[in-house]
């Protein structure tokens, strides 16, 4: 069963990754190109001072297509695998949701904890924003915030479970959300601010890029919730993926 779930989780991740890649390529690349153009214009203006146009080993056109695709799909498959692991752990143990509801809940919590909570403190930056000198600490604080958000999500789910029998599911959910928001708020205040956007960077490009980032992640997580929701439901009911139902949803059947 775990094998089936893991295979299906990664397959759902593959499909979600392809969709997210299409969005990232079509919607995300224009602001990336614009940001690179800004960077190059600035580098040209400040002249030779070692703005060091390192000869690219990988061309821009490869980065925008294969590179972007490999990165997004790899990330998505990994998230799909983790989704399967978390699903197997919580299904039937935490809460009374059935398979699809469980998958949806995990994905919603995962999206909020892994994407929204970090993004509202350390928003994604296009190329040309950010100095190489601070990449170490920025990467560190980013992952620290992801870890804090995951821990806060676990704490919120625990609180909700404890309160649910006493004050009802709706109130318990509200209390859990409140706890999560307070914990994230404290983390946001406690962690150091980062502002790498240099003066004069076109705000519209920044906005477009950040929306594209949010869209990429939103597509990835919602497609994952949809795909793995169906696949996990079939798995716990002992059905193969390509039963009558779900025609057109996916074209491959993982062997059991």
């Amino acid at each position: 069963m775990m094998r089936t779930l893991l295979v299906r989780g990664m397959l759902a991740g593959l499909l979600a990754g392809v969709l997210a890649f299409l969005w990232a390529h079509l919607v995300g690349e224009p602001p990336v190109r614009a940001a690179i153009a800004v960077e190059e214009a600035a580098a040209a203006k400040t002249a030779v001072t070692g703005a060091a146009e390192e000869a690219p080993a990988i061309t821009r056109s490869t980065q925008e297509t294969w590179g972007l695709g490999v990165g997004v799909v790899l990330f998505s498959v990994a998230i799909g695998g983790f989704l399967a692991l978390v699903f197997a752990m919580v299904y039937g143990r935490v809460g009374v949701l059935r398979a699809r509801g469980t998958v949806l809940a995990i994905c919603a919590i995962g999206f909020v904890a892994i994407v929204l909570a970090p993004l509202t403190k350390y928003p994604a930056n296009p190329p040309a924003v950010g100095s190489g000198d601070t990449i170490d600490e920025r990467t560190g604080f980013f992952f620290v915030l992801v870890m804090i958000a995951l821990a806060a999500a676990v704490a919120a789910v625990r609180l909700g479970r404890q309160l649910a029998p006493r004050i009802g599911a709706g109130n318990a959910l509200a209390a859990a959300v409140l706890l999560f928001v307070v914990l994230i708020g404290v983390a946001h205040v406690a962690l150091p601010a980062q502002n790498e956007v240099r003066a004069g960077f076109p705000p519209q490009v920044l906005w477009d890029f950040r929306l594209a980032n949010l869209g990429t992640q939103a597509i990835l997580w919602s497609a994952l919730a949809f795909g793995f929701g169906l696949a996990a439901e079939a798995a716990v009911e002992g059905r193969p993926l390509l039963a009558r139902r779900g025609a057109g949803e996916r074209a491959t059947v993982p062997s059991r």
């Binding site: 775990m2 990994a78 039937g92 920025r138």
Partner: protein
């Protein structure tokens, strides 16, 4: 939480879901797959940025756009 149980003709839905994998059976998957999946995320999200396993910047350059558009700090 109401689930549309009525539209499922074939399997009589059990009212309370039961775990499908024992925690003991889950542990090796968590350890092994967890490590492999973390590595995948690391290579997309951080390799040759803040830290490096391989020398050079080919990994960074290949997944460069994905790293930006997924929202990881890049450079």
């Amino acid at each position: 939480m109401s689930t549309p149980a009525a539209v499922e003709p074939r399997t009589a839905p059990t009212t309370v879901p039961v775990p499908v994998v024992s925690l003991r059976g889950l542990l090796p998957y968590w350890i092994f797959a967890g490590i492999v999946l973390m590595l995948a995320i690391y290579f997309v999200g951080a390799e040759e940025g803040a830290t490096s396993v391989f020398a050079g910047s080919n990994v960074h350059e290949l997944v460069h756009d994905a790293r930006h558009l997924l929202g990881f700090p890049c450079h």
